[in-house]
């Protein structure tokens, strides 16, 4: 394996990692997958088709968004290429009543929760600092750009669910839980560790979904941790499990169990999804400067979409469906491009209007001043 030999997370890939699909797409559950098989068995072929469709659509969306950035239409783009299975599988494990706290690369999680992914582009086009109202978009909270800050917000939110009795009542249709996304880089932040402490202490209904994509911009996971990251959970007093994050079925099953446990009052848990950031960190990055092409090739050969497509083909899913998904993805991307170009900037009032809930004299005065200043140029050209 071309990955650095001290990469503990990868070194342990063989044994405890939960996997349902082998790299070639054959159904070959690992021994560690036994307890998750009932969750896998909840799925129907219709679910498989949704999983596949969403992975393909977001891959295409991702490419289109990167193109928009290259053409000067976005300030920045954050690719999710390679991480589709971890994201789609975990997102489908949530229920409508749950709350989702993303980092900033979980585009398809937002889509599955009901977000129009063009809203994500609005932030990256520089017309808003947020982009959507979480309550109106599947409780999918705003992206957080300071790494790991959202882990604490998620834990506090989950504490609130406990305080107002919205969880662990025994009714799976209404009991709520929180899932928070972060990564191997963010796992080194103090906030991620404080969130695990608080979550364990208060036994919050919460899943920490850590995508280990092996790179924090240019720094490999081996610099973040000398031991597999999921093992940290034990030190905090909660279950930790490693899943093959390029296996959408395993990602679903493991997360579904963890979320069920959280809603039922069994407390928090940590999932480390092993995956790979095939693209750059952002469009401002150049991974050829620090990454071994052999390592990239190793992971490209484990592409989550290719693997799942092989599985579907093995099930006898018709070629027409697979082709129609490609067409749908192309149409989706074209539509996103059109609508992205139509995004307009806000009025300058946005500078001032929501800084405070109640008027702050300094901000009011400055808004009035700017209005008067800008008005002073009106009709003054001649």
């Amino acid at each position: 394996m071309p990955v650095t030999s001290n990469d503990a997370s990868v070194r342990t890939l063989a044994s405890p990692t939960v996997q349902l699909l082998a790299t070639d797409g054959s159904f070959a559950p690992s021994e560690s997958a036994a307890e998750f098989l009932p969750y896998f068995e909840r799925l129907t072929e219709a679910d498989y088709r949704k999983f596949y469709r969403d992975m393909v659509v977001v891959r295409k969306f991702d490419t289109e968004a990167a193109n928009l950035q290259r053409q000067g239409q976005l300030a920045l783009w954050v690719p999710s290429h390679g991480q589709e299975a971890a994201q789609v599988g975990s997102a489908y494990a949530t229920r409508a009543q749950d709350h989702v706290f993303p980092s900033y690369r979980e585009h398809v999680v937002g889509m599955i929760r009901g977000l129009d992914m063009v809203d994500i582009l609005r932030m990256l086009r520089g017309v808003t600092l947020g982009g959507w109202t979480p309550e109106e978009h599947g409780n999918f909270h705003l992206y957080t750009l300071v790494l790991a800050s959202q882990t604490l917000h998620a834990t506090g939110y989950a504490m609130g669910m406990q305080l107002d009795g919205s969880t662990a009542t025994g009714n799976p249709e209404t009991d709520q839980a929180v899932i928070v996304y972060y990564g191997d880089g963010a796992s080194s932040q103090g906030d991620a560790n404080e969130a695990l402490v608080f979550a364990a202490s208060y036994q919050t209904p919460q899943v920490f979904f850590m995508q280990n994509n092996h790179w924090a911009i240019s720094v490999p996971v081996s610099r973040q941790s000398r031991s597999p990251l999921y093992l940290r959970a034990g030190g905090f007093g909660m279950p930790g499990i490693q899943v093959d994050g390029n296996d959408v079925l395993a990602s679903y099953a493991v997360t579904a169990k963890a979320m069920d446990d959280a809603r039922a009052g069994h407390g928090p848990s940590l999932i480390e999804a092993l995956t790979y950031r095939v693209g750059a960190h952002t469009t401002a990055d150049d991974p050829t400067k620090y990454r071994d092409p052999e390592e990239l090739a190793y992971w490209v050969a484990r592409d989550p979409i290719v693997r799942f497509r092989s599985y579907l083909e093995g099930l006898g899913v018709e070629q027409e469906f697979l082709d129609s998904v490609d067409e749908e993805a192309a149409d989706y991307a074209a539509d996103v491009r059109r609508r992205a170009l139509d995004i307009t900037g806000p009025d300058r009032a946005v500078i001032f209007d929501n800084v405070y809930a109640e008027p702050h004299p300094l901000v009011v005065e400055q808004k009035n001043w700017l209005d008067a200043y800008e008005a002073s140029f009106d009709g003054s050209e001649s």
Binding site: P134, T155, G160, L163, A195, V350, H360
Partner: protein
Amino acid sequence: MTMPDTQTAAPTRANLPMAKALNAGLRQAMLSDPKVLMMGEDIGPLGGVFRVTEGLHAEFGEKRVLDTPLAESGIIGTAIGLAMRGYRPVCEIQFDGFVFPGFDQITSQLARMRNRHEGGVTMPVVVRIPYGGHIGSIEHHQESPEAYFAHTPGLRVVSPSNPHDAYWMMQEAIASNDPVIFFEPKSRYWPKGEVDFTAAGTPLHASRVVRSGTSVTVVGHGAMVSVLLQAAELAAAEGISLEVIDLRSISPIDYAPILDSVAKTGHLVVAQEAAGFVSVGSEIAATVTERAFYSLEAPVLRVSGFDTPFPPAAVETHFLPSPDRVLEAVDRSLAY
């Protein structure tokens, strides 16, 4: 407004130390709104290291008074999540110098959450910080970091100087839909003062003339107000009449009483325990110079802590602005 205790016929006035007045204010807020929570280190059965939350755990239980793990970023960060969920958390930071592990969550998250959501969420979070010197303590226990927070858009910053204001300002801060950094002058926790439980008298963000005078206007907040009042007594003996203004609110600053006073006196001295460079006093000096230039008969002068770390307690009296240091500045102002 309601009485401090709706169950029994409580007195309408009481002579209380500020720590007890704050406690009564917190209790009243918890009685008024079941969404109000207390969070912090040692605030439960112990009642906080200054006993400001004493009795609240016993009265309201562990679901409303949360003894948290020892992690300030964790306290603020989870309070943000609770506020998103509709709660009104009141976070205690144990000492001024311990707020910095939570600084990122306060400045990058708490202060901006409403703005990032374009008004879609409110952050009714109060962060209580016992602050300032005069208590002879060790490093990180005597600091005045209020300028960092006043410099941060999205926050409100207040500091009471007396028990009556403490009682009312605490309740008003908790009722605010914006995050409020509430600086409690810990050297004033113990002196008693009269609290009128029937009316606040002054809005949360208003400054107030606490002693009228004609020669020089002196402005300060928190513990500095009592230093200014002592200086005014000493000055009066020398025939100099100081007008003392209690700032009360640091963000926003209510300039009207200051400008009115300067129009009368023509002299302004601003006093603070914090280091003077890029401080609240600097801001007031600049603003009053802009707005009242023709009223001023002398430059606005600042009396501050020095631009050094807070020193060992053995020499703190040399560091902290004293009534004499204030009068030295008053004399310099009048000499123009």
